[in-house]
Symmetry: C2
Subunit: 130 residues, 2 copies
DNA sequence: CGGGATCCCCAGGGATACTG
DNA sequence: CAGTATCCCTGGGGATCCCG
C-alpha cells in the first residue's frame, strides 16, 4: 500500500532496502562499527586526527576531559578497525604519532559536517530546553 | 611552525577554528548535543524516522533489541532537543505517531551517509580483525 | 612520554509488572 | 497500545600507581 506524498514531510525518503535491512538487525556488524565510530570519544579523536598526525599528549589535551584509560581504549579500537594508524618511534623518551588511515579519512569526511551541525545547532537546542 | 604538505596525507585539512574551539572544550553544549545524536539508539531512531512518521510499536520493532525504557528515554531526549515531533491521538486504544521535525530532517541527512558508510565498511572491518 | 595493570564505583540500561 | 514505575545488576569508565 502506497502513501501519498502529502502525508509526510517532503524530505521523507525511504532508505535503500539493503541499508535498512543491514543496520537495524540486532547482531549485525554495522551496529558494532557504528558504535565504535559514534562513541563519545571516538568522534572527537577522529575529528582531531582529521587535521593531521598527532601525538598521544596532543590528543589527550585536545579531547578535553578524556581519561588516559579511555584514550588508550578508544585509540586501540579505532586502530583495530583500521581507521587509525599508530607509529611508535623507538626513542627515549618514547614518541608515538597517530594519524588517520585512508579509510579513516573517508569516515572523518562524513563526521565533520555532523559535528559542525551539532556546533551550529547546540545553542538553539539548549535554549529550547527552557 | 609550519608543516609542509608532504608530511601528512593529502586529505588532512584543518578544521574551521570556531568548530575546533567549540567542540573540544569539556563543558560545551555541542558535546551534549553530539552525545544525544550519536547515542547508540539515537542514530537508529533518527534513521528509522527519516523514512517518515512511525508509531511507537513500529520503532520498537525496527530498532531491534531496544528495551521499552530506552525507546522512551531516547524519544524523550530527541523530542526535547527539537528533533522529533510527538503526535498523541486521544483515542482508545492510544495511538502515537513520531516524526522528524525540520531540524531533525537536516540532521538525518547527515546521518544517512554515515550509517551507509558503516554498513559498507562493516564486513571489511570485522574481517581485518583476525 | 606513552602507556599497562588494578581497584573501585555508580549510573546506564535491562527485565518485569502495572496503568490509562 | 503506549507508555510509567520499580528493582536490580554489570560493565563503562575514572583514579591511581607503576613501568620501559
Amino acid at each position: 500500500m502506497k502513501v501519498s506524498a502529502s502525508d509526510r514531510p517532503p524530505q521523507a525518503a525511504p532508505l535503500p532496502v539493503d541499508l535498512a535491512d543491514g543496520v537495524f538487525p540486532a547482531g549485525c556488524p554495522s551496529r558494532t562499527v557504528l558504535d565504535h565510530v559514534t562513541s563519545k570519544w571516538g568522534v572527537l579523536i577522529l575529528l582531531a586526527l582529521s587535521e593531521g598526525e598527532q601525538r598521544w599528549s596532543d590528543l589527550r589535551r585536545r579531547a578535553e576531559g578524556i581519561s588516559e584509560k579511555m584514550l588508550a581504549q578508544t585509540l586501540k579500537t579505532l586502530e583495530r578497525d583500521g581507521l587509525v594508524r599508530r607509529d611508535a618511534q623507538p626513542v627515549i623518551p618514547p614518541r608515538v604519532d597517530y594519524s588517520l588511515t585512508e579509510r579513516g579519512y573517508g569516515l572523518s569526511a562524513l563526521l565533520v559536517p555532523l559535528v559542525a551541525w551539532a556546533f551550529e545547532n547546540a545553542e538553539d537546542i539548549v535554549n529550547g530546553q527552557r
